[in-house]
Amino acid sequence: MRVPDRLVAAGGYVTRWAADTVGVLLAMSVGTFALVLLARGDPAAVLAATRAGRPATPEQIEAVRVELGLDDPAPVRYLRWLAHASTGDFGLSLRTNTPVGPEVADRLGVTFGLVAGSATVALVVGLAVGVAGAVLPRGPLRGALRIGALLVTSVPAFWLSYLLVLFLALRLHLVPTSGMAGPRTWLMPMAVLGLPAAGVLSRVVAVTLREALDRPYVRAAQARGSRPLSIVLRDGLPNAAGPILSVAGFGIGSLLVATVVVEKIFGWPGLGAYFVQAAGARDVPALQAAVLVMGGGFILANRCADVLHGLIDPRARRSSS
């Protein structure tokens, strides 16, 4: 069985992948919209009260219902919501009576910056510790790396933040306790987000890479005099790419959600903090916007990991759905 041209085959694969991704994103948008059906209380009443500044009269509530089209059938409302959302219009916040879209857009940069920074920490530390865990002989150092990785994934992010604040900020005065001004304020949030993800990643790298390095082709590479680094990079990691990429994709996607804790603690004006405020106030339009953006980012991170695996390993293309 000859594959005629590697690039053409990969091109078809990428097209299929893109179509699937759109499908998954659409499915998620349905779920996000459905949140409004789960909501307790009448959003129209909440918004009317916000506008009036006191409990609203039935007439005011009815006016809002008509304005928002809340009496239309759910599918119609979904399509309308999706059409608006795709232009960045998520409606009015029930909490502040201001448009949600621009607020979310303003906050996006902060959150994505934070995620990008902590994803870098997670990838660099996770890969380095994982590779060390795979090539070190069984012994105290390897055990310490493993326990350390598990420990750092077990510490709640908010408590890890406390510890860092206590030592780095209050005792050593290396960094400010909170806020977002200047590069040094990025250190703690990036560490709190990135280190647990690095811990998870390092475990997967250690286990799957060790397995890959036990394969006959590694012995053959040693027989032709390849360097250990080259064996790890060319023979080991690519063959362990499936599990590593899927955990990395999930981990980086989850960083987006984990910003809710970190932004609150360090007082960052990002999407995560907005999400928590919206959740606390049962602000459904704001919640939907936050869920759609975070969920979308999460799905994209996972899908990107998938497509990368398919590009590295032609065998993975067939099984991908």
Binding site: L35, S154, R210, A223, R224, S226, G280, V291, F298
Partner: protein, 618 residues
Amino acid sequence: MNRGRARTTLVAVPLVVFVVAGLLAPLIAPADPTANDLAAGLASPSAEHLLGTDQLGRDQLSRLLYGAQISLAITAAVLAISLTAGAVVGTVAGYAGGWVDRVVSRVIDVVVSLPGMLVALAVIGVRGPGVDNLILALALWSWAPYARIARARVASLRDSPHLDALRLLGAGHGRIVGRHLLPLALAPCLVYASTDVGTVVLAVATLSFLGLGVAPPSAEWGQMLIEGRPFLASAWWLAYPPGVAITAVVFASNLLGERLAAGAERPSIIRLVRPGRIRRATRPAASPDPGTVLRVRDLSVTYPDGSASRRVVAGMSYEVRRGQVLAFVGETGSGKTTAALAPFGLLDPSAAVTGSALLDTHELIGLAPGERRRINGRRVGVVFQDSGAFLNPLRTIGAHVDEAVRNAGRGGRRAATRRVSGELLRLAGLPDPVAVARQFPHQLSGGMRQRAQIAIALAGEPELLVADEPTSALDATVQAQLLDLLARLRDELGMAMIIVSHDLAVVSRVADTVAVVYGGRIVESGPATDLIDEPDHPYTRGLLDAVPRPRTAPGTRFRTMPGLAGGGPDDLAGCGFAPRCPLRQDSCDHEPPALQPLLPATAHRSACLHPPTREGSC
């Protein structure tokens, strides 16, 4: 085993403490966790308040214990709901099969791949905070792994005759699912639940910390931490205990999960450190004969075997000369491959190799990995058995050969490297190197893969080529072609070669000398013609009797001799072949017979006390 189980138990201790503390909190807590006493606010730990008090003067130890109670109750509720729902959904889907199964599996896949925190925040966001919504939010997402586990367990039983029998006996679907399948599915779900405790505890604490879970004045751990936040620097007893409690429970749960998931673990071949446990030969290296490329003396290889160790090669000596082929012949497990690869550090890293192996004048045993790279791929090339597994499936043949050329220091710019690779592929008998270089290993036939391996092995213009079963698993015509190729390369390039094979008939085609290996020892060795024409050792004779006569059916494997293949060299006190030997006598069981020349000053040697040729009467 026993030790492993003891450790697993030890790992679970924090979980047990968590459960006990949660259950007994009302009995063991020294004070009411909500009793304010502003006069005693922010008191540091003392005999009265073992963990001090918070800003409202509440006893921290009591709050910690009641926190365990809250966490435990919520976690138990979440796990009970998600385990039950998951097990039922998974069992039904697995039992039903067909489209039900496909739809449910798809839903499970989606839910498992969602980030739990996002689901929980969204649900609590629209439903409002509170314990009931917290449980709902967590259960909505945590049921899926249980469903997946139960489904897998039940689907594997779907077509079992046991179920058919139940149906024949008139059991309804409900009864089969409820009485017979669900209990089976619950067992693995319960094991998973023990590792899921940490996830739920962490989620409860995080949501409460965000103000979306358990509300004050309840002494939930996350809640305690947020209340203690303003006093972080001044009152450490507010900052540490709840965090330590959460971390301990989650850590124990994660560790337990990893222990349950981990299987047997082998060390990887690559080691950053110098291999240990190696003793060089004590004897000074004899000045080698100039024609000798590799000279091995007293080679032993030992593997750890549980707490003991097991020798697989015992005191082997052999040598191979320029332009000559040495063939190791023996059954699977005889130690022939180990003996051939040991000098080059190509065994499992747990192997302890002793003795001496001189390549020219360089001692190979005990070399550090860095020094090995100056030997392997440059002065020694290796061809492995074709199972497809010795080539990286993700790299093209060209990438392999190019790498070998660069390793050997013969690479240059990309084009120059490619040119050398092309020559090597052509030398190995692949007429269209450009096309082959672009192919992946699985796109080639077995014979072509072996030629590619030969090209890789030749990249360093080696003095010695080691080929481990280079032609097994190939059909007879291809075998013959490859052997002819090896013979031609030996003659044209003047290389020394070691060929390992289980097939004496095959190697007799190219071998100059033959060493017959049995049970980790060489039992007979000598020039190929002598050994084949006048075999001495009963084992060799057995091999030759079983070898098809020339020209009958070339390449047929020899018929296995009666009896089991040999064990290790130390399994028996005497001759390793004795259990299968038709000529065995009592004296054979005392000590292993030494490999001795048949006649003074001949190269033909044999290790047998009562060889048929010399004692005639047998």
